[in-house]
């Protein structure tokens, strides 16, 4: 079924809605509502402005009461903000999702093979598919991981891959987050709230459930326990209550029914990791760690870290405990290595990548660098080891001064930067200030990889809430919305 729009928007609700050459998630061309959005569109027109406001308030209040906040760095110490959530779902058809799912599994399979290879034989480097210098100069390459065997060769067991949709409607991979990706709790919580706010619509659309994420995560982690450990003890390691994602850590621990531990709860004795309980020391088999590599073990990495546990790395090396994700995975989500992922897929799997990459210029290459430096205003420049939208230049929105600053930074350390063309991210309808407006969105599905791969259908749709903005990170004024993958 398609719903036709009149020449003028049928309701004041849409009067500020922008349509142009960016892909619009809800409207096709200028007039047609995409079939998967028809029920939503219909109920928006029926609900009316006041009822929409009421539900929006209910949504915000629910987030406030549950304490779903994040901490903004760089402002006053520990400023807590409610995570902005938009109440209109982003809807994907089953067909769209199946392509994404296959593409993600293919990608994580190849990336895990790459990590195993890089930290052992280095075949892909010897065959010059990926330049060795690129790997060894990566900030997140961990020398200590060389020759260390990892259970099931599964380096990345939880990935949060960022996808964007181009004007032609195709999803492409913007970046792989293979270290400690976050945000999955927002996906789970916002689904709970949406089901309360739009029960009839939800049911009518027929949405694939995601509530089993906690169980799937636990099963994945258990499948990675050291061999011979029956009924393994899984824990979630958090930096503690002052971390910006503490809500998520506590939430996931509750969903899985596993202890939420801090570094000071762990003791390593004779190469075995224990946690301190009131009944004495209990052996720990799998650590879902939500702290960075550098802080895992003061004996192996940063000696000033108090977040990890002394001796943990040795216990991990000896195969007595599993760390998920493994250490050193950042070498595979380096933004320059990213450019080689399609080649990796071909090299290890003999397949073409199902999900394309975004065209990427490596600024360590003189020709590419010269080209980009001549046209900085056209490109998005990113520091390779950064995440969260930090260390980035968005060319078309930049001042001459900022471009000059980046030019110097690039010339100073070219390996540290890549450039990509400015993408027209797709736009989805959002309820803002009592009107429905379109905003740029991306999509971060969460991939679990253990004895098998699992992708819960959907993910976190991140929204650039500022009009015209392309930056979706929560630290930079982004929000999120629920993502519905339809059963039919």
């Amino acid at each position: 079924m398609t719903v036709s729009l009149q020449r003028d928007w049928p309701s004041a609700l849409f009067e500020r809605y922008e349509l142009d050459d960016a892909f619009d998630e809800m409207f096709e061309g200028r007039a047609e509502v995409r079939p998967q959005y028809a029920p939503l569109y219909k109920s928006l027109l029926e609900l009316g402005h006041e009822e929409m406001q009421r539900r929006k308030q209910a949504l915000d209040l629910s987030f406030l009461h549950q304490g779903i906040t994040f901490t903004v760095y760089g402002e006053q110490t520990g400023t807590e903000r409610i995570f902005p959530n938009d109440m209109l779902p982003r809807i994907l058809t089953r067909g769209e999702w199946e392509t994404i799912e296959r593409g993600l599994i293919q990608r994580i399979t190849a990336l895990n093979l790459f990590l195993e290879d890089v930290y052992h034989d280095g075949r892909i480097l010897k065959d010059r598919v990926v330049p060795a210098s690129m790997v060894y100069s990566c900030r997140h390459y961990r020398r200590q991981m060389g020759g260390v065997s990892v259970r099931r060769n599964c380096y990345v067991s939880v990935a949060g891959t960022d996808l964007v949709r181009l004007p032609n409607g195709r999803f492409v991979v913007l970046e792989d987050n293979l270290r400690v990706p976050s945000g999955v709790s927002y996906m789970l919580v916002s689904r709970q709230v949406m089901k309360r706010l739009f029960p009839a619509l939800y049911q009518k659309c027929g949405v694939q459930p995601i509530d089993h994420y906690g169980k799937a995560l636990l099963t994945t982690l258990q499948s990675l326990a050291p061999e011979g450990r029956e009924d393994p003890v899984v824990v979630l390691l958090t930096p503690g209550v002052y971390n910006s994602a503490y809500f998520e850590h506590a939430y996931l621990a509750r969903q899985m029914g596993t202890p939420l531990v801090e570094g000071r709860d762990l003791v390593v004795h004779d190469g075995i990791v224990y946690m301190r309980t009131t009944a004495g020391l209990r052996r720990v088999d799998v650590i879902y760690r939500r702290i960075d590599d550098d802080f895992i073990d003061p004996l192996a990495f940063r000696s000033d870290s108090t977040l990890g546990a002394a001796g943990l790395f040795q216990a991990f090396r000896d195969g007595n405990v599993t760390l998920a994700n493994s250490l050193g995975t950042g070498v595979a989500d380096d933004k320059a290595i990213y450019a080689y992922v399609p080649a990796m897929i071909r090299y290890y799997l003999g397949e073409d990548a199902i999900l394309d990459n975004v065209e990427t210029f490596l600024l360590s290459d003189p020709a590419q660098r010269a080209h980009v430096l001549d046209h900085l205003e056209r490109y998005v420049v990113k520091a390779v080891g950064e995440s969260g939208g930090y260390g980035m230049l968005v060319g078309p929105h930049s001042t001459a001064e900022q471009r000059e600053e980046f030019r110097l930074r690039i010339l100073d350390d070219p390996r540290n930067y890549i450039a990509q063309p400015t993408l027209r991210l797709s736009r989805a309808p959002c309820f803002l200030d009592g009107r429905i407006e379109s905003r740029h969105v991306d999509l971060r599905p969460y991939v679990l990889f253990g004895d098998k791969a699992t992708v819960v259908p959907g993910g976190l749709t991140r929204v650039a809430l500022t009009r015209g903005s392309l930056v979706v990170n929560s630290s930079q004024g982004g929000g999120s919305k629920d993502t519905w993958v339809l059963t039919e």
Partner: protein, 326 residues
């Protein structure tokens, strides 16, 4: 099986301290309320001494003479963050501990504690003669009571809950011994009983500090004699703010924790708690008064400290070599 019987030592520690801080805040609020009330009456005790006495009742060092002025005193006892036993410090401490273990306590508990914290933090500093001070102190008292009620009715009465009980009753035993001992140091019991209105008001004041006046009147009479007051506050087996009641609960919570957690080296902690309980259980007020109230109470404080140390040795801060459990 599973994690049901498994509690991180850090979590136990946080629950224990959350509970101690709340009990302390309530105690401070109650003592302040009663003593400020006595301050209003014309009593032979000058205001200056009243502040000194109030500090003694709370186990705090003597305030500087220059500071013994009511708004300074109220500020320091209720709102001074640099002062560890102030009400604001205690509520903040309780909330910080609760924040560390949010997934262990019920949402209702967290919300109540959070509400109380914001109420204290945002309160205007009231003057001592102001009725808003009374309202403020009532908010604290009632807030803590509400928290206890919510805890009892929304949390599994398992190991965590027992740590909360233990914290409350150890803190309570401590503060009761301090109250009783400071009171009788200031107003000793004479051989022929009390006479005079002023002394009567002080005895009633002590009972009120323990919310015990009405219960006391039912058991004895409205004319509290020193031996009876001491007997009631130290030895009553069923009044919730007596030392004996507290030690009964310390021993039973500690035993419950040992049973649930299946710690191996629990014997010493159990023995110390049992001895503390027995010391009070088998005491007699006549004997206590004739051999000296002060040494008896000092002994109890010491025993409470030993129980606290044994609790840490056994469940929280044990040496790793002795504790490989599984």
């Amino acid at each position: 099986m599973g994690f049901d019987g498994m509690m991180l030592s850090r979590v136990a520690d946080s629950l224990y301290w959350m509970s101690r801080y709340l009990e302390r805040a309530e105690n401070t609020a109650r003592v302040m309320e009663v003593q400020l009330n006595l301050l209003l009456d014309r009593s032979p005790m000058p205001a200056d001494n009243r502040w000194r006495h109030m500090h003694a009742l709370l186990g705090l060092p003597n305030p500087k003479e220059s500071a013994r002025e009511s708004s300074t005193m109220v500020q320091s006892l209720a709102f001074d963050m640099s002062h560890q036993s102030s009400i604001l410090s205690c509520i903040t401490g309780a909330r910080e501990n609760a924040r560390q273990v949010r997934e262990e306590i019920s949402s209702e508990m967290w919300e109540q504690l959070n509400r109380m914290y914001h109420a204290v933090r945002l309160a205007d500093v009231p003057e001592s003669g102001d009725s808003s001070l009374h309202d403020f102190l009532t908010t604290i008292r009632e807030g803590v009571h509400l928290f206890q009620g919510i805890t009892d009715s929304t949390m599994t009465h398992g190991e965590g809950w027992e740590f909360i009980q233990l914290g409350r009753y150890l803190e309570r035993a401590h503060s009761l011994t301090r109250l009783v001992s400071a009171h009788f140091r200031e107003f000793p019991h004479g051989p022929e009983g009390d006479q005079g209105t002023a002394l009567h008001l002080e005895r009633v004041g002590l009972l009120r500090c323990c919310t015990a006046f009405e219960a006391f009147c039912k058991a004895y009479s409205a004319d509290p004699q020193p031996e009876d007051v001491a007997e009631f506050l130290i030895l009553h087996p069923r009044f919730p703010r007596s030392i004996r009641f507290s030690t009964l609960h310390i021993a039973s919570s500690l035993r419950a924790i040992g049973d649930i957690s299946t710690a191996r080296n629990r014997a010493e902690a159990d023995r110390l708690a049992g001895r503390l309980r027995a010391t009070v259980d088998f005491a007699d007020i006549g004997e206590i008064l004739s051999t000296g109230l002060e040494p008896f109470l000092r002994n109890l404080v010491r025993q409470c400290q030993l129980v606290d140390e044994a609790l840490y040795e056994t469940y929280i801060d044990y040496p790793i070599e002795t504790a490989l459990a599984s």
